[in-house]
Structure formats: structure tokens, C-alpha cells
Symmetry: C2
Subunit: 138 residues, 2 copies
């Protein structure tokens, strides 16, 4: 058997998982990350730990149910740590793990991109809507 070059080995390890494949576990993980609330919550935790109620305020419009559910998923996947401080009243802090912090640039980038290109997208939408509307009358 031929010896593989370093480049080939690196290529191999990089393609151990392939989200293009339906059955690959990374597909499910990608879907997880492509969640309505995930990026917002992770970015909200970028500057340090936040309490449950602080997160609820940062991520405006999130329901208690979805906030808890998303946080549990993030905790299970190893992105956040949940710390219960048994004071009265109770206090719960959420903070990013190293793994979560490594994900931060990625999700932060997608949020920033959306904010930074909103105008261009809106222009594109207007053009598209006008064009398709005209087609209706032909």
C-alpha cells in the first residue's frame, strides 16, 4: 500500500466528518448550530457569565421555555457551564466553556454579517419582489 503524504493525511482527518452526508453526525450538529437562538445566546455570553434573567433580557423575545431548552442543549454539547448558586433567591450563572469559546468567532461572525449586510439584502428583496410581481401581469 502506498504511503500517504502529510497533506493527504491531513485531508483525510479533515474529512472524517462530512456534513454533506445525510447520515453523518456532523450534519445533526450543524443543524443544532443552525438554531434560531443558539448564536444569540452564545454571543450574549461572550463578555462573561450571565444569569438566566440577564440572558432573557439580552436575547429579547425568547420565551422561558426556549431559553431553558436551548441552554440545556448547549450545556449537553459542552458549550456552556451551568452554575447554581444556592443563595436566596437562587442564582444561576451560565458561562462559555473553552469549546464554546472556540465556537464564538464563528457564530459571532454570522450575527455580525446579518447586521452588516441587512441593507443590501433588503435591496435585493425589493428588486426580486418587483420583478416577480411584474411577471404576474405579463
Amino acid at each position: 500500500m502506498a504511503t500517504r503524504t502529510v497533506a493527504e493525511q491531513r485531508r483525510q482527518s479533515r474529512e472524517e466528518y462530512d456534513a454533506f452526508l445525510d447520515a453523518c453526525p456532523s450534519r445533526k450538529l450543524l443543524e443544532r448550530l443552525s438554531d434560531k437562538w443558539v448564536s444569540l445566546i452564545l454571543v450574549a455570553l461572550a463578555d462573561g457569565e450571565q444569569r438566566y434573567s440577564e440572558l432573557a433580557r439580552s436575547v429579547a423575545g425568547v420565551s422561558p421555555k426556549m431559553l431553558t431548552q436551548t441552554l440545556r442543549n448547549l450545556e449537553r454539547d459542552g458549550f456552556v457551564i451551568r452554575s447554581i448558586i444556592p443563595t436566596v433567591p437562587i442564582r444561576v450563572d451560565y458561562q462559555l466553556t473553552p469549546l464554546g469559546r472556540s465556537l464564538l468567532p464563528v457564530v459571532s461572525a454570522i450575527k455580525s454579517w446579518a447586521e452588516g449586510h441587512m441593507d443590501e439584502v433588503q435591496v435585493a428583496r425589493d428588486h426580486y419582489d418587483i420583478a416577480t410581481e411584474q411577471n404576474l401581469f405579463r
Copy 2:
């Protein structure tokens, strides 16, 4: 009124949209980008134009309905161009616009991250599941 510094102006323009706010248009755009199929389709188009059927093969498991629906959204938002070549049989090519290409590093990064950290996430999940299962028996 006080003159704003360049840094303040840049900060202002960067925060014209804020996805943390429920009513901000960028919130909806972020949700759009956080779609099950969007990143996969965009990355599939990274190396150049692809036909409808090629895309369907690249993005394994996507139904015709979702492929068309997602492509239409991407077209409307100005990320892809749809070219109909009236041969027999018909041929339809999809390619990225400059705007779509500017989004490519971002969505590509999230897909790569998922593929590159799948093992770590799996370990975290196993730990979490064992820990919570133990709690059930206490």
C-alpha cells in the same frame, strides 16, 4: 451637540442593526441564515455554478421541495443567481452572487467547525448523559 469621534461613528453604523432586538430586521435575517439547508447549499456552490440536480446530489437528503424553497429564498435575498438554459432537456444553473460569496466564509466556517469538533461534542454529550442518568438514581 458634541462632535462624534470616528470610532463612535463606526460604532454607530455597526450597531445600526442589532439582532439581539426582537423587532430588528437583522433578527429575521439571522434566522434565515440559521436554516437547516442554507449553509450546506451555499458551501456546495463555493466551487462554482451547479445545476439543480447536482445540488440535490451534493446536499444529500434534501427533498425537491426544500431545495427549491431554500434556493428561492437565497435568490430573493440576493445570494444566488438562477440561470435557466432552455435546452432540451431544460437546464438550470445556480451560482453565488458577490453578496453570496461574501457570506461564504461565514457559513463555511460553521460547517467546518461542526465537522472539526464533532468528537469533542460527542464526548461532552456522553459525559452529560451519564451524569444526568446518575442523578436519576439518587
